[in-house]
């Protein structure tokens, strides 16, 4: 993957601009980071683990998961091995959303130099 700093910024602008324009789900940076972590890194994902990984407080993760669950982008499942923990799971809807977003970035990249 080769990319210059200028191209990186243009890429970011193109994708973020298009997201804003199209009135997509209004995710904060934290919510998006959590979502990408859940979908792109190996399970299992717990509230505690996500909080540690992203240097967030636990309530912030709980609330972000509330939002993602409300959008249908994540599901909570209690851990059978430790009923205190919850396992954050992916959904079809979330997979589709991220897939579309990835395609948007690719299309944007093609338009740049």
């Amino acid at each position: 993957m080769k990319i210059s700093a200028r191209n990186a910024l243009d890429l970011w602008r193109g994708a973020v601009t298009e997201t804003v324009r199209s009135r997509g789900p209004d995710l904060t940076a934290r919510q998006l980071a959590i979502m990408l972590c859940v979908y792109l890194t190996e399970p299992p994902h717990t509230v505690r683990g996500l909080a540690t990984d992203l240097k967030l407080r636990k309530p912030a993760v709980t609330r972000a998961l509330d939002k993602l669950e409300q959008l249908g982008f994540a599901r909570r499942k209690s851990d059978p091995d430790d009923a205190r923990s919850i396992l954050v799971q992916r959904t079809v809807r979330g997979s589709v959303y991220l897939s579309d977003f990835g395609d948007l970035v690719v299309r944007t990249a093609r338009q740049i130099s």
Copy 2:
């Protein structure tokens, strides 16, 4: 610029995750989109123009500019040719921030596949 959808998502995750972790300025997607537009596209930039371009309401742009100005990432200057308009201007601080962010994306890209 060649990039696969999967790499695009990994790139996004890496950069957003690092931004969250490092406690950078907590910009919303709208605020970021406005900032990138101001810095990466040709001036002049007005509230009206930014709102039209991003399909936002004017008060949303005004508030985003309040935030960017508070962070030292933008300046308002009244248009000498039409005192109703304001011209959104770049700052050194904002340039440095975006430059650093671009470098972060480049570094992240290097770590991917």
